[in-house]
Symmetry: D3
Subunit: 341 residues, 6 copies
Amino acid sequence: MEAEPKNKRKVVTFGEVLMRLSPAENRKLQQATHLDFFFGGTEMNVAASLAYFGVPVQHITNVSNDIVGDAAIATLRKFGIEVSQVKKVDHPLGIYFLEVGSAMRSSQIAYNRLHSAFANITPESVDWEEILEDADYLHWAGISPAISEGAYQTLKKGLEIAREKKIVVTADPAYRSNLWKYGRKSQEVLAELVDLSSIFIGGVNEINEILGSDYPFEEEGFIEGSKALLQAHPSIEKIFDKVRTSVSSSWQKISGRAWNGKNYLTSEELEIRDVVDRIGTGDAYAAGVLYGLQHFDDQEVLNFANAACALKHTHVGDANLVSVEEVLEVVSGNVSGRIKR
Amino acid sequence: MEAEPKNKRKVVTFGEVLMRLSPAENRKLQQATHLDFFFGGTEMNVAASLAYFGVPVQHITNVSNDIVGDAAIATLRKFGIEVSQVKKVDHPLGIYFLEVGSAMRSSQIAYNRLHSAFANITPESVDWEEILEDADYLHWAGISPAISEGAYQTLKKGLEIAREKKIVVTADPAYRSNLWKYGRKSQEVLAELVDLSSIFIGGVNEINEILGSDYPFEEEGFIEGSKALLQAHPSIEKIFDKVRTSVSSSWQKISGRAWNGKNYLTSEELEIRDVVDRIGTGDAYAAGVLYGLQHFDDQEVLNFANAACALKHTHVGDANLVSVEEVLEVVSGNVSGRIKR
Amino acid sequence: MEAEPKNKRKVVTFGEVLMRLSPAENRKLQQATHLDFFFGGTEMNVAASLAYFGVPVQHITNVSNDIVGDAAIATLRKFGIEVSQVKKVDHPLGIYFLEVGSAMRSSQIAYNRLHSAFANITPESVDWEEILEDADYLHWAGISPAISEGAYQTLKKGLEIAREKKIVVTADPAYRSNLWKYGRKSQEVLAELVDLSSIFIGGVNEINEILGSDYPFEEEGFIEGSKALLQAHPSIEKIFDKVRTSVSSSWQKISGRAWNGKNYLTSEELEIRDVVDRIGTGDAYAAGVLYGLQHFDDQEVLNFANAACALKHTHVGDANLVSVEEVLEVVSGNVSGRIKR
Amino acid sequence: MEAEPKNKRKVVTFGEVLMRLSPAENRKLQQATHLDFFFGGTEMNVAASLAYFGVPVQHITNVSNDIVGDAAIATLRKFGIEVSQVKKVDHPLGIYFLEVGSAMRSSQIAYNRLHSAFANITPESVDWEEILEDADYLHWAGISPAISEGAYQTLKKGLEIAREKKIVVTADPAYRSNLWKYGRKSQEVLAELVDLSSIFIGGVNEINEILGSDYPFEEEGFIEGSKALLQAHPSIEKIFDKVRTSVSSSWQKISGRAWNGKNYLTSEELEIRDVVDRIGTGDAYAAGVLYGLQHFDDQEVLNFANAACALKHTHVGDANLVSVEEVLEVVSGNVSGRIKR
Amino acid sequence: MEAEPKNKRKVVTFGEVLMRLSPAENRKLQQATHLDFFFGGTEMNVAASLAYFGVPVQHITNVSNDIVGDAAIATLRKFGIEVSQVKKVDHPLGIYFLEVGSAMRSSQIAYNRLHSAFANITPESVDWEEILEDADYLHWAGISPAISEGAYQTLKKGLEIAREKKIVVTADPAYRSNLWKYGRKSQEVLAELVDLSSIFIGGVNEINEILGSDYPFEEEGFIEGSKALLQAHPSIEKIFDKVRTSVSSSWQKISGRAWNGKNYLTSEELEIRDVVDRIGTGDAYAAGVLYGLQHFDDQEVLNFANAACALKHTHVGDANLVSVEEVLEVVSGNVSGRIKR
Amino acid sequence: MEAEPKNKRKVVTFGEVLMRLSPAENRKLQQATHLDFFFGGTEMNVAASLAYFGVPVQHITNVSNDIVGDAAIATLRKFGIEVSQVKKVDHPLGIYFLEVGSAMRSSQIAYNRLHSAFANITPESVDWEEILEDADYLHWAGISPAISEGAYQTLKKGLEIAREKKIVVTADPAYRSNLWKYGRKSQEVLAELVDLSSIFIGGVNEINEILGSDYPFEEEGFIEGSKALLQAHPSIEKIFDKVRTSVSSSWQKISGRAWNGKNYLTSEELEIRDVVDRIGTGDAYAAGVLYGLQHFDDQEVLNFANAACALKHTHVGDANLVSVEEVLEVVSGNVSGRIKR
C-alpha cells in the first residue's frame, strides 16, 4: 500500500468554523481560570487533515469581522488551507465550550452558534462557479444544512454546481437532533442533498434518518440499509461507516466498514485506552476516506480512514494534524509507539 | 473619615453578566493558545465591589442554562452576591473578547451578546416586589436598556416599583453608541429612566446625551450641565462624575467631581502609571459612590469613589476586589504601596 | 430510581478546611515552579458535594484571619455552602502538599496542620443551638477529634445537642494513625462519639479500631463486625462501607457494601482505569450516602454512593463537583462517557 | 494621510528564521521550567509585518527538515507569508535564548545558529528568477551575509537578478560584530551589497561601518554621513534612520530621521514607558519604511515607520502584528490607548 | 573599581528558609488557581546572592523532613550554597503567602511560621565549631532571634564562637514588630547580639530600636545615631544603611549611606519605575555589603550594595540572582538596559 | 533485601548534557506556544538517579558558556551532582525537541547536537587523574563515542586511567544509528571501549552490534550472545539487560535479565499502563544496576534495576528522581500506589 498522488486538483469543504473553549486537565469550568482554545468545525477539520496529508484544499465559510474572525482565518492559513474566499461579516463567530470527561464521566458541550457568522451565510455571497473551477472534490456534512436556511441554500447551490462540473461530492450527513431549529425538516433536506452526492460517509443511524427506516446496527442491518440507500439514492456509489465502542470517556475502540455497491468490507479494530481528545475523530475518518479515494482501493481506503480516526484520539484539538506516513504506519500494524529519533 | 455602617438593608443591581475572554501578558489573540476568563458586567461589577465592602447585595439577571451559566452563578456566589433570583434560560451567556493594549496600543474588544440570555429577559420573569422588599438601593446602568426591549421593560418596571417603595435609585447612564439596535431611541429611554432615579453617576457626556445639549467638558460645563439636568429631571439630587486623563493604555490619571445641588466638589487626582486592568474602573467608582452614600458626606463620597476607582486599575478582572480599609488608606493619602505583613 | 427531594432542611458539617498545594502533571515538587491549589477537608468535601446535589448545607470551622482564610471562605461560598458561622482566628489555615503518583508510584502528602486555625477551635466559639435549629443532619469524620482537644470537645458538644434535637448524626470515623498527638486515646474518643451517631460510614478497619476487635476484611468479617458494632453501639442503625481495590495509583476499582441491621447489601464494582484525582473519594461516598438517605432505599443509597465515589476519581480537586443526574446515569449502568451536547 | 494601495505586486524577503525561546515574566532561565517560543528573524519580521499591512510578501529561507522546521513554516503561513520556496534541509533551525531584562537589568541573548539550516543555504537552491518574476521589492539585512559564505552568495545572486529586473532593493545593513566568522570582511561585503540596493535603512553606525568613516551620531553627522554614502554608493537614493534613547530596559524613546538626497527629515519622538518586547522593533521600522514607500511621501514614510516601530514595543514576539489602521492612529497623534469596542 | 577576590574562605549565614507562595500577574489569591513558589528567607537570600557573586557560602538552618524540606535543600544546592549542615526535623517548613500589589495597592503577606522547623532549632543541633572552622564571615539578621528561644540561643552561640575565632560578624538587625512572641524583649536581645558583631547593616530605625533613642531619619539623625551606636556598641566598626523612597508599589528609589567611624558616605540614587519583585531587596543590599567588604573600599562597598539592591527589583524571587559583572555595570552608570548578545 | 551502603567513594559519569524542549499535554509542536524544558543526557541521567539514591557522583562534560550552560550546571547542582570539573566552552549546548506521543502515535525527537559544547570536548581539557582519584566507578554509554572524535578520545583516555586505578567501569553501549557521522566505525570503537569495561548493560542488539553476530532476541539468544561476548571481551564480568514490550506509547512492560558468567537470571515483569514519560528509562535501569552492584547480589541487582526503570515511567523529565525506598517498595511487590501521608 503506497501513497502515490494521482492528481493535484483541490478539495473544497464548506461549513462553520467554531472556536472551542475548554479547561485543561479534565477540569470543570468552575475549577478553571483559563480556557484552551482551538478552531474547529466538522468540515474544516476535514480540510485541515487533508492539508496535513498534502492535499490542496479550500474552505468556504463566514467568520466574524473582529479579532476572533481574524484569528480563525490565521489558524486556517497555518493549517495550510486556502482561505481567499472566507468572508468576514458583522456577526460573531460560533463558539462551543467543552468540559472534557474522563472514565465514566461524560464530556459536556455548550453551544453558542445560533446567530453566528456562518448561520448568516447566503448563497449570493459564495461564488461557487469560481471556487469549484479547479476542484475535484466537494465535501459537506449534515450539520451545515441544520443551522440555517442560508447555510442550507448556500450548500445546495454548491452541490448543484458541483454536479454540473462533475465534481465528486462526499457527504457526511450525521444527524444532530439539537439543531434544525429554523423550520426545515431534516429528513427532507438531507435526502435532497444526498441525491447530489456520490460518496456517503455514515452508517445505519444516518441511513435510517434519511430513509425513515429502522435497520438494526449490526452487520446485516448495515448491509441491508446500504443497499436500500443506494437504491433510493442512486447517485451514491459507496458507503463508508465507522463503528465505535465507547468503553469509557478514556477508552475507545474503532473500526471501519463499507459497502461499495458490490462488497461488504471491514477494517481491523483499533483500540485507544488513553484518549487525549475525542473531538473531530469522525472528521478525521472522513478526511481519511477522501485521501483514500484519491490513492487507494476500497479496502485500503477503509484501513486508512480507520487508522486516521484512531490517531486523532491521541492529540488535542479538533483537527487531525498527522501525516500520511503516520497513518500508514498504523495501517501496517505498528501501534507500539516507539520513539522516532 | 470613619466607616460606620448605617444600615444592613441590601443593594439590588440589575444587568447582564458577561464572560470576558482575554489572552494573558498583552498578547494578541493570534499569539495565544489559551484565554483567561472572568465574569463581569457593569452592574454586576458594582455588586461585587459592594460585597467586598461588606454591603449585602443581590444581583438580578438571566444566565445560560448550561455549564457557562452555572460557572457565572458560582462566581457571583464566590463574590458574596445573593443569586437566588438569577434565572437560567436557554440562550447563551453574553461573551466579550479583550485584547489588552499597552502604551499607545489600544485594547480591543469584540462582543457576542446580541442574542444573549440577558437580552432575552422579560418583565414577567422578575419578581421585583419580592426582590425590593428589603432593599435600600437599586442600581442601574445605561447599558441594560440599550440591549433589548425586554431588558428595557424589565428595568423600567423595577424602577417604578422602587419608586413606590421609596428605594434610592442610582443611575449610571453611560451611553454606548454601538448598542441600541432593537428600535428604541437612547435619549428618550434614558431620560425616562433618569426620571425614576435620584443619584446620577455620570458627567457632561451623559448629560448632553440625555438633554440633547452641548455643554463643554470643562468645570464650567459640568456645573452648568448639572444644573440643567437637575432642572429637567428634578428627581435627581446629586451628580457624581469621574474625570480620566488617558496618557496611554498603561498610564491613567483619575479624579472625581460632583454637584450636589448646592456645591461643586472635586477630589484629588490619582495617578496609575502601570495599569494592570482598566476594565470595570467606572463600575468601581459607582460602587464607591453607593458605599459612600451609606456612610459619608458628599466630599468623602467623592474621595472614596475616586480611590476605589484608582485601586481597580491595580488588579486583573472586571470587579474591584478591594476592602474598605484599602480604599480608606488611599483616601488618607498613602499611595506608597508598602508591604502589609 | 428517581430523585424526589423529601425535605429542604439543611445538613451541617464540621471539620477542618485545608489548602491543598500540588504540582501539576504528576511532577515532583522539585520539578515544579508553581502549585495548583484547592481547598478541601474531609467534612467540607461532603458539604460541597451535597451542595452540588442541591442540598442546603452549612459548614462549621475556623479559618485564618488573613488572605488565605478569606480565599477559603470564598471557595465555600462558590460551592454554595453556608458560611455565616465560619470564624476567622489568628492562626494559619492548615495546609497539605500533595505529589500525585502514577502507576506504581505512590502519591505523597506532607501536612502542616498541627497548629492550625481549626486545631484552635473551642466549644465556646460555636453556637450549636442556633446552627442546628433548622438542620436535619449533622456529619462528622474521625479526623476532627484526632486533631486537638478543642476540636474534640467542640464536636462532642455538637453531637450532644444534635441528639437532643433528634437530628440524624452520620459518622465517618476513619482512623488516622499519624494524628492523635494531643493526648486522648483514639479508641475511647471514637467509641464515645459513635454512641452519639446513628449512621456509620466505614468498614472492618474502623469497626476493629473502635471495638478493639480483629474481624477479617472479607464479607463474613464485615457482617460479623457490623453486627458486633450495632450491639456495642446501639445508636447505630446502618453501616455503609466502601471496598477499594488499588491496582495502581491510576487504576482503581470500588464497590459498596452495607449492613442495615437486617440485610447485607452490595453494589456493583466500578472501575476507573485513568484516575484523575483520588483525593476526596471517600468523602464523595459519604456525601452519596447522605443524599441517598434523604431520597432512596438502602440498596439505592449504596448504588448512589458508590457511583458518586467513582465519579470523584474523574476530576481534579478535593470536592466532588458532580450533579445528581451525573451520578444517576452511572447508577443506571451508562459508563460509556458519550459526549453530552 | 491615507493608505491607498498603489500596487499588488509582492515584496520578497530573504533571511534566517530563528526560534526564540524565552522565560515568561522577566524570569531568569534558571528560574523557569518552560519557555515561550516565537519564530523570528530580522527579514522574516519585515515580511510578517508587511503581511499584516496587507502587502503580498514571500520569504526565502532554509528550515530544518523536522518538527521544528515544520512549525516554522506553519507560523509563516499563519502570518500570511508565501512559503512555497522555503526549503527543508538536514540541518537544525537556528535558535536563540532570550532572558528579558527590566529597568536597569539588560536582556541577555544566547545564540545557537552557526551551523543552522540557513547557514547551509546555497545559491543553487534558490530560483531567484522565478521568485522575483512578480516582485516589486527585495529586502535584505546585514545579518544574512554575516552568517556564511552560502548565505552571502545566495543573497548577492538575488540582488543581482533584482537589479536586472529593476526591482527596488531595500537594505538594512545593521552590523553585528559577533557574527562574520566565516572569513569575509564585513565592510567589503556590505559595501558590495549596498551597491546593489537603492533604499538604505540605517544610520551613522552603519554608514561608518561601510565607509570606514567616523561621523558623529548627532544630526550634522547623520546628514554629512548620508551625503557621503550617497556619493560613494550612488545606487542609494534615500536613507531612513531610527534614533533610540534607551532610558532603561523598560523605557524607550524613538524617533525617525531621513535623508532623501535633498532634504533632512525628522519625525516626532514617541515614548514607550512600559516596554512589553523590544525584539524586532528595528524590523518593524523597516517594514514601515517599505509599506510607506508604496503609499506615502518621504515625511509620511518616516512618520509611519516610526509609529510602527513604537507599536512593536507593545506586544510580545519578534514580528509586529499590527494593522495599517493602528499605525495611522498613532501617526495622527492618538497615543491615549482608549479601548476599541 | 575592579573585583579582585582577596580570599576564598567561606561566608556562613544562619536563618529560616521559607516557602513563598504567590499568585502570578498581580492577582489576588481569590482570583488564582495556582501559586508560584520560591524558597527564601532573609539570611538565605544573602547566601544565594553571594553564591552568584562567586563567594563560597554555607547556610545553617532546619528544614522539614518531607518533600517540602527536600525541595528547599535542592534549591539551596541549585543556588550553589553549601547545605551539608542543614538538618531535617519533624516540623513543617515555614511558609508565607504574598499577594503582589501594584501602583497604590500594597502587597499583602500572610505568615505560617510560628511552629516551623526553624523555630524548633536548638543550639545542640548546630556544630558551630566545625562550621566556622574555615569561615571568614558570619551573617545574621534580626528576624532570627525574634522567632523562638531556640533560634536566639543557637544564633548567640554561633556569634560567641565566631568571636573566639575572630570571624567578622555582619548584623542586619531589622526589627519586626509582629514577631518576638516567645517572651524575650527585642531591645535587650538585639543589643546583646550587636555586641558580638562588627558590621552593622541598618539605619536610624534599627539604631533607635536598639538604643531606645529617637534620632530623626534625615542625614544628621543618621550620623548622630551612628556615632551613638558605635559608642554604645564598640564592637561595631561600620554602619551601612539603605534609603528607600516608595513612590508606589511599582516605583521605588533607593540609595545607600554609611558611617565608617570617620566619614559619612552616600551613593547615587537609583530608580526602578517598574518593579518586578520587591521582596529580598534589603538582603540583596546586605549581600552587596558583604561582597564589597571583601573587595572594595567603603565608598565602593556602598555603590556596589546599592546597585545590587536595585537589580533585585528587576526579577522575581527572594534571592538576587545577578552576577558581579551585572552589578558593576550599574555601578559604572550604565542603566540603559541594552540587550546583551 | 536491605540497602546497606558499602562505601562512600564516588561514581563518575561522562557524557553530554542536552536541553530537552517539549510541548506539554501531548501537544504537537505546532499547537504550542511554550515548551517545558529539562536537562538530560544518558550518562547524566544515571548520575542524577544515583544522587537521589544517596550515592556521591560527579559528572564530566562541557556546557555552553552562556545562560543555557549556567542553567544546566545549576540543574546538576540541584540534583546533587558534583560539577566542579564541568567546563564552559564557546559552543552551544546540545538540544533536542520532543513531541510526546500517545497510544499508537509515536513520540518524535529532533536533535540539534552535532556542533555542541560536548562534541567539542578534548582529552586535554579533562583531568582524569584527579577526577578518578577518589572514585570507585566510571560509567559510560555508547552515545558519547558516537558524537565526535574528541568525545571518543576523551572517553578512551578516561577508561584507560580507570583501568590503571582498578576502578570498575560500567558500559551501556547502546547503538544509535543516526550518530557516528565523524568517521569512526561504531563496531570497532565500541569493541575497544568494551575491552576497557567490566560491567555490560545491554542485550542482544548491543552484543550483535559489537560482535557482528546475529543472535536472536529470545532467551537462548541472549544467553548464547552473552557467553560469546564474555569470551570475546574477557574484561566483561556481567551483563544486565532490559526487556521492553511496547504495547503502545502509553503502555509498556519491562523486565530484566542478566548473565553473570555462571547463571541466567530474570526479574518479574512490571507493567506501566499510563506512561508519563518514557525518556531516560534505560538510564534509570543503568543507575539501578550501579546502585545494586554496590549493595546487592546479582538477582537483587536485577530486581532493583527493573523497579527503578519502571518508576522512571511515572514522572516527567529525563532523570529518575526517586528514592531507594520507593524502588525497594516496588521490588517488594507493592505496586498499588497507596497514598503516603
